[in-house]
């Protein structure tokens, strides 16, 4: 069946998953549903301890068995030890058929690949995967369909009962013996625990894992003891050097700086750039350069940002310190500067992933965004973006908050160099659609800027602005003129993963990768 972004979703996939095809970014507005609920074991007896000796005991007490779904968060990013630690114990216990429902997985989790191969792990649901897990899925090693969901989509899936978590393992930089968890104050601080809140609220069993047990009560807690069944102390929950690096030095790459300048010029010429505007940007070189150059103009013109949202980096915190931002609302910290900021600045606050981006609650922060500045591996002439599957067909990235913020913001700007090496980033059809083009307003490349034709209002207000405007087709043609039009990636028939839209419908599928066959 063909969906609203023109992708063929095979009937057998629809049948196997019970899902529907994507009908448009806002098709589920006002959708009515009843929330799921976890099965809870009450703790009435004040003498009962939640402390367990080790992960093994936690697993036994939680009743781990074949076929369960377990969950993790990714606040420790590439420094995470929790996923590997828990999976190794599950593997040692001979448990099979596990589905991992993680807010994201990275290269740090390469060691679980053999468990995919031996059937310990049969399902992966994540914002995305990188490294060897991506290769394992793309080469058909995972038994079940992998499901890629946005950060907001994951909360929706859990709260609506589409996925039910049996046991949530939540790494916490500090925790007390009754399960009050905080993101800071330990040796592996990660700033916030936003993504893990829904796991705590909706999993049947919740295990807090910490390397820094602190006296009761550990408050104000990011995640409260009322959700926590067991507390386990381990030597280390992560590698601090990889959880948060020092602030990235502002890029000196002139190409990125130029795209950032185009972006800033665009932003300040829209009607949304006014006192109290709201803004989110990513962690890439051009995004950070945009924040820095926008900050200078805000200072010159005396315009303040009312809300800075999302994954937070040092340059945003610097704007907060300077008084140019009123409130930073945080779901993830990308560097030490961001972590230090949330510890000390009362106007830098932690929110849950549901508050951030869940399309099925009663209104998330993303809906209040004026601007979001995003990146993309590929953008096609319909403005569809692909941030998950490499142009070689291999799963290699994550949706993150891309589709959520794009759908929410009044002005969604995607920055991408026209060519990624020899691969055109602006193309006729993206390898995989992960963010629908109807939610993408502007594409900024090093060769020119294209405004989505459905945004005639933006085209009108840029009429006298001296920026290199082109149509998206012109940008694609320039790319193809330089490096040629690539042959489509050759996939096998088997579907190995689905790209879920925010609302749980299927926006695209990912097929098994196949070695390139040359034509005679």
């Amino acid at each position: 069946m063909i969906n609203a972004v023109g992708r063929e979703i095979p009937e057998e996939v629809l049948k196997a998953t019970g899902k529907k095809v994507f009908e448009g970014a806002y098709a589920y507005d006002n959708y009515e549903y009843t929330k799921a609920a976890p099965t809870v074991h009450a703790v009435c007896d004040p003498k009962r301890s939640k402390m367990v000796e080790n992960i093994h005991e936690a697993l036994v007490k939680c009743g781990i068995k074949d076929g369960m779904t377990i969950s993790f968060h990714h606040h420790f990013r590439e420094g995470d030890y929790i996923v590997n630690m828990v999976m190794e114990e599950i593997h040692n216990m001979g448990i099979k058929g596990i589905t991992i429902c993680a807010s994201s997985l990275g290269k740090a989790h390469d060691p679980i690949v053999p468990m995919i191969e031996d059937g310990t792990i049969v399902g992966i649901q994540s914002s995305g995967v990188r490294g060897k897990i991506g290769e394992a899925i793309s080469t058909g090693k995972l038994r079940d369909l992998a499901i890629m969901r946005s950060h907001g989509g994951r909360v929706r899936a859990i709260e609506s009962g589409e996925v039910h978590i049996d046991i949530a393992f939540i790494g916490a930089p500090t925790c007390d013996e009754y399960g009050n968890m905080k993101a800071n104050g330990g040796k592996s601080d990660c700033g916030v625990l936003s993504y893990a809140v829904v796991d705590a609220e909706y999993a049947d069993k919740v295990v807090a894992i910490t390397d820094c047990l602190v006296p009761f009560p550990n408050v104000p807690a990011s995640i409260s003891m009322v959700h926590v069944d067991y507390v386990c102390v381990v030597d280390a929950i992560g590698n601090p050097a990889k959880i948060a690096t020092g602030a990235a030095k502002p890029t000196t790459d002139v190409r990125k700086i130029m795209m950032a300048d185009y972006c800033t010029q665009f932003v300040i010429n829209t009607p949304y750039f006014k006192e109290g505007f709201s803004y989110q940007t990513g962690v890439g070189g051009a995004s950070i350069a945009s924040t820095i150059s926008l900050g200078k103009i805000m200072e010159e013109r005396g315009i303040h940002m009312g809300l800075g949202l999302g994954g937070i980096t040092t340059p945003m915190c610097n704007l907060l310190e300077k008084g140019l931002v009123k409130t930073l609302v945080d779901t993830q910290d990308f560097d030490m500067g961001a972590i230090e900021s949330i510890k000390k600045n009362p106007n830098h606050i932690e929110i849950t992933a549901s508050e951030y981006a869940n399309p099925f609650n009663k209104g998330a922060y993303v809906n209040k965004l004026d601007f979001v500045i995003l990146a993309s591996l590929e953008v096609d002439v319909n403005f569809n973006c692909n941030v998950v599957v490499g142009s070689d067909g291999m799963i290699t990235g994550a949706q993150g908050g891309h589709p959520d913020t794009a759908a929410g913001a009044k002005c969604t700007i995607v920055i991408a160099p026209l060519l990624q090496g020899r691969i055109p980033a602006i193309c006729t059809n993206v390898t995989t659609v992960t963010t629908p083009g109807e939610t993408v307003d502007v594409v900024i490349t090093d060769y020119g800027i294209a405004i989505n034709p459905k945004r005639q209002d933006l085209i009108e207000c840029m009429k006298d602005v001296k920026l290199p405007f082109k149509t998206i087709e012109e940008l694609r043609d320039m790319a193809y003129a330089m490096v040629g039009e690539p042959d489509p990636v050759q996939f096998g028939d088997r579907v190995v993963g689905i790209i879920e839209a925010r609302d749980g419908t299927i926006i695209d599928v990912v097929r098994e990768i196949k070695d390139y066959e040359f034509k005679d």
């Binding site: 000196t252 002139v254 190409r255 700086i257 130029m258 090093d446 060769y447 330089m482």
Partner: protein, 300 residues
Amino acid sequence: MSHPYKKRLRRSMMFLNCQKPGLIKDPYIYKPDSIMLDLEDAVAENQKDAARYSLYHALQEIDYRGVERVVRINGLDTPHWKEDIRVCVAGGADTIRIAKTESAQDVHVVEEHVLAAEREFGRPEGSTLLMSALESCKGVLNALEICKSSDRLIGIALSGGDYTKDLQTTITGTGVELQGARQQMIIAARAAGVQCWDTVFTNLDAMDVFEEEVKMIKMMGFDGKSLVNPRQIAIVHKIFTPTQKEIIFAEKVVKEIDEKKALGIGVFTVDGKMIDIAFYDGAKRTIDLAKASGVYEGDL
């Protein structure tokens, strides 16, 4: 008749290392007036051939979208320059920059080989322009004869690093060591009716100092500057492009002089400033520069 592009706008001439294909594939996105594709100092001695290969294919395959393609060839005291010239001409470079020029004779030698290459590769005779880098005291002293040496020669550029070595000093940051060369060269260039460019500024962390230097060389009369990084382009263009105020004033001067001349009036005032025919060429040049920079919207 001289080459139609001999006097084109050349505010920014950006150096790019031919040894790095990633650099030469699309520098036009930064919109310099000219790029200087370097076969000389930036290219390792044992990579000259590879750099020529990249250069040839870049010149042949890439649409540089109107940006002038200058190639800096190796010095006449090296074994490389003759093959460099053949590659430049075969590829269709717009201009060849002669390194370490010390005399009119140096230009003549290069010109001979360029002509031979134009014949060899079937390119129109005289189509390849030349410019000279002056990198020694002797070269600077011979600036006038160099400027007058060939109809192909578009101008001269100061190469401050080698020049200060020859002068037995260093680049001090004050500009005092370059004063003499700058003055001598711009005077010689203007006397011969060719263009003149200032040396590179390499400290990318001192953009404010760079900006002051560009302002100074513009006041001295230079046509532009050699650059090492795309970040420098916008600053040079900003300073070398007439402001709207300057353009409007120049327009008034040109129009008034034309009108008053017909009425037999020689001296008059425009916006309170005394104006006579001596201001005419300068005002015309401002309009021409505004047109070449793409900022002129008037009807002169």
